[in-house]
Every structure is written in C-alpha cells, then in structure tokens.
C-alpha cells in the first residue's frame, strides 16, 4: 500500500510523520507522474488558492480527478477539503469531487482560529477504547485554523462531525473524506486510520466491481 501526500504547499510533512508512525508508506506528490500506483491521496492544509493554482499550473487537477474516479480514496484537510468541494464561493481551481459546498475562512481571521473537542461517532468503529463512562469514543481534538466550514452537503454525503452549534466540519462520500480541521497537527492518528479503512473498503468495492 502506498499513499500520496500532495506536497505543493502547506502541512504535508505532518501527514507524512503520522503515516510513518502507523507504518504506511507514502510519497510526496508534486507532479502528475507521482500519482501513479497510489492507493490513496491526502491533500493537506495550506493556502487553498496557492495549492489550487499550482495544481492547475502543473496539470495535476485532471489526474487527481481520474484517481478518484478509479475508486481510489482521497482525503482533504482544511485547504484540501476546499479543493474536494464542488463549490467554494470564490473563483479558484477546485477538484469538485465531493457533493459539498464550503465557505472559506468561515469563522473569521486568525484571531478567530480555535481548538475544540469533537464527537466523531465514525471513529468508534476503529476499536478504540470507550470513554470512561462507556458512552462512546473519546472526543477528537479539533484544531481549526482560519478554517472553512462545510455549508451544505448533498444527499449521498455522510456527516461525520459537527460543532456543538451545528456546523458540519467533517464529511464522507464514497472514497472521499473532508475534514476542515487538522488531525495532522495532533498526536491522534484515528482519522488517518479511518482513511486507511476507507482505502481498504474502496479496494474491496473496486475488486467486486460494485463501484460505478
């Protein structure tokens, strides 16, 4: 198994550190040729306009879409989630792979960046120990930096996490995963392991021919 981490700009190194720790090979992706033979792709946080422009300039948009259409899993964190979206409310290059709309800098400027615990039911399936009272998995520590939010989701999209005030901050659709916070800035590898499970599922689906 090999996972690609888009390394045009942003926090790609941190994803690499976590993947190494959980024993998964990865490759930094800067040019179309680097996408060959990957089982999944992570698009990291960074500046979505910078990443989008470089992806367009170096002809990465189309092969990244093709990778997803072949049934390979793709995960975008923050700027990466913006790239996955169909709409971002601004003129910038997008992959448009997920049936979600995002609102950039939805919480404000850097002074409004925040940390908060999140309840993420989907992480229970990873066999994590339940909370002390047995009520579910321990919360995931969400680090939100000039974060976007997922302002609307299509019918095929599963919402994975919301803020207590109701805003959608993580979602999944087939092999696509979007998180507007930064699991790569924490020591918690559960989202990375969730992504590995999605890769395994996608491979199964492709093998069984059930993926359209």
């Amino acid at each position: 198994m090999q996972i690609g981490v888009l390394a045009l700009q942003g926090a790609f190194r941190e994803h690499g550190v976590i993947l190494r720790r959980i024993g998964v090979a990865h490759r930094e992706v800067r040019l179309p040729g680097h996408l060959r033979g990957l089982d999944g792709l992570i698009i990291p946080g960074g500046e979505s306009t910078t990443i989008g422009k470089l992806a367009r300039e170096y002809s990465l948009l189309r092969p990244m879409r093709a990778l997803a259409h072949e049934g390979k899993a793709v995960w975008g964190t923050c700027a990466g989630a913006i790239l996955l979206a169909k709409q971002a409310g601004s003129r910038q290059p997008l992959l448009g792979l997920m049936d979600i709309a995002v609102q950039r800098n939805a919480f404000g400027r850097q002074l409004d960046s925040f940390e908060t615990p999140l309840e993420v039911g989907a992480l229970t399936a990873l066999g994590e120990a339940s909370g002390a009272n047995g009520s579910g998995p321990r919360p995931f520590h969400g680090v939100f930096i000039r974060a976007p939010l997922i302002s609307s989701v299509g019918s095929g999209v599963e919402v994975l996490a919301r803020l207590p005030t109701g805003e959608v901050v993580a979602a999944r659709q087939d092999g696509m995963l979007a998180t507007v916070f930064h699991p790569e800035l924490t020591d918690d590898d559960r989202f990375h392991r969730l992504f590995l499970d999605m890769i395994a599922l996608q491979r199964g689906a492709v093998t069984a021919g059930s993926y359209d």
Binding site: Q9, R30, L31, T50, L111, V143, I145
Partner: protein, 295 residues
C-alpha cells in the same frame, strides 16, 4: 468544553499552513491581489518595501492602519504586518486591525534597544527574525510562533540569508551530536532557555516553523534557501522592485514548491525581465545594516 482561541497550537498552526510557500511584501491592495494571483501563501502589508526604507532613511514605523485594512479587504489569504522591535503598542494596534500575523521586525527602526515584545500576552501570533540559534530560541521563549532567519533586507543580495540559515541549521546539527551533560553550558553560551534547547535537540529542528527572509530576488534564490533546509521564504523588495512583478512572483512560487527540480527552476526562471537592482551587502556601512538589530 468551550472553544479556545489564541492558543499556542493555533498560533504555531497557522505557520505550519504557510510552509512550502512564499510570503510577499506588498504596499498596496493592487499589489496584494497580484501576489495572491501569483500563488503567494500570505502577504506582508507595509508602507515601503525595505529597499525604499533603506533609500529614504529616517525612522521607519508601523504602516498606516488604513492601508493595512485595505489590503486585508482585498485578499483572502493571510495578511501580516510589521511592528517595531519592542513596540508593543504598535503590536496591539495591529492585533486590533485583525492582521493574521505580526512581524516584530528589524526592518523598522527599533523602539526598544533591550527588550522585545512579550508575545505570549497577545492572541495574534508573531514572527521574529534571527541570525543564530540563540536569538531564535530567545524569540520563541518570548512567544514567537514562527521564525525567519534574517537576511539583509532591501539589498537583493542573498548572502546574509544564507549565512544566517546556515548558522541556525548548523547549530541545530551540532546540538544533536552533543552529550546531554553539555546542554546547560550550551544554553548559557547561546543565551537560550534550557528547555527550548532540549526540545530543539529532540526535534532536530526549531520548535516552530522557520522561513528565510531578506535579499531573495530570484527563483533560484528561493530554491537555494529551501534546499538549505528552511520551511518557506519571504520575498520583500525582490518582487515589486523588479521589471515584471507578476511573472517573477509566480516563478518564485513555483521554484519554492519544486526546489529540488532544477529543470523546473530553470524553466520558470526564463524571461522574467530585470530583477531588482541589487546592492552588495559588503558595500553597505555597518551602521546601515538592519540584520544586527534585535537582542
């Protein structure tokens, strides 16, 4: 639990998101849009680029808040602005304006010749310059969430940026080879907090993101600094003092991403027009050098 803002994690986290990118000096909203369009990961809003500060002389201060607000309104990428070393009220003003990062900068005339701003007291994150590991760790000790190695701003001469990046990275290398019993003396010698010395040794890098700044003027300059091991680059006068700022900006962004790919750096370096007129650092009287400011 409530949302927590202004924490060390979100301050340092924004710098993590800027890595591998180019932060460009801009003096107008128009320039800020050109920078954003070229792929800058952030802009530094200031009244005069360092080359002009150098030429004009006099006291260089925080920029006009009106101009900073115009630039904030013009772009969707993060906006940084400079305050004078030790001028904590300029820093308060910049925080009140809503800038995303404050650069406590030696390019402006220092307001305090002994003390820097207590950066822990702010919700806005700070970036500070350094010439060596001790200076970097003192700034981090004061609360800086990002470091830039100092070049000699406004010269178009990369030599000081190289010198100081090599100094910091070289000292980190030496620190990692050092027996543990030598750490306290080393901390004393470089004038840095012992726990930050220890943390740097464990990480094998600074505890915060480290960019290069000062004197970068070409795509090859940016790729050089990246290959030396910094996390990203600031380009000041080098872009908007050149013949064709938009093309040069875009080329420097590409060279920063593809810094290990000489064919791409070669391709993007073609036909960029005149670079900024340089001034050799060795020809500048020591009293006019900026990098030595900071304590």
């Amino acid at each position: 639990m409530e949302k927590q803002t202004g924490t060390l994690a979100v301050k340092r986290g924004l710098a993590e998101m800027l890595k591998g990118g180019v932060i460009m000096d801009v003096v107008t909203a128009e320039q800020a849009k050109i920078a954003e369009g070229a792929g800058a990961c952030a802009v530094m809003a200031l009244e005069r680029v360092p080359a002009d500060i150098r030429a004009d002389g006099g006291v260089a201060r925080m920029s006009d808040p009106g101009m900073i607000v115009d630039i904030i309104a013009a772009v969707s990428i993060p906006v940084m602005a400079k305050c004078r070393i030790g001028h904590f009220v300029e820093a308060q003003v910049l925080q009140a304006l809503g800038v995303d990062y404050v650069d406590e900068s030696e390019v402006l005339t220092p307001a305090d010749e002994e003390h820097h701003v207590d950066k822990h007291a702010f919700a806005v994150p700070f970036v500070c310059g350094c010439r060596n590991l001790g200076e970097a760790l003192r700034r981090i000790g004061e609360g800086a969430a990002m470091i830039r190695t100092k070049g000699e701003a406004g010269t178009g001469d990369v030599v000081e940026a190289v010198r100081h990046a090599r100094a910091v990275l070289g000292e980190i290398g030496r620190l990692q080879q050092m027996p543990t019993e030598e750490l306290m003396s080393f901390a004393k010698e470089i004038g840095a907090p012992h726990e930050l010395v220890q943390e740097t040794r464990e990480l094998g890098r600074l505890p915060v993101v480290n960019f290069a700044a000062g004197g970068l003027a070409t795509p090859a300059d940016a790729a050089l600094m990246m290959q030396l091991g910094v996390d990203g680059v600031f380009v000041g006068s080098g872009i908007f003092k050149s013949g064709d700022p938009a093309s040069r900006a875009k080329a420097i962004v590409a060279a920063t991403t593809h810094y290990n790919d000489a064919e791409i750096v070669a391709r993007v370096s073609k036909g960029l027009g005149e670079p900024m007129v340089g001034r050799q650092v060795q020809d500048i009287p020591t009293t006019e050098l900026l990098a030595g400011r900071g304590w």
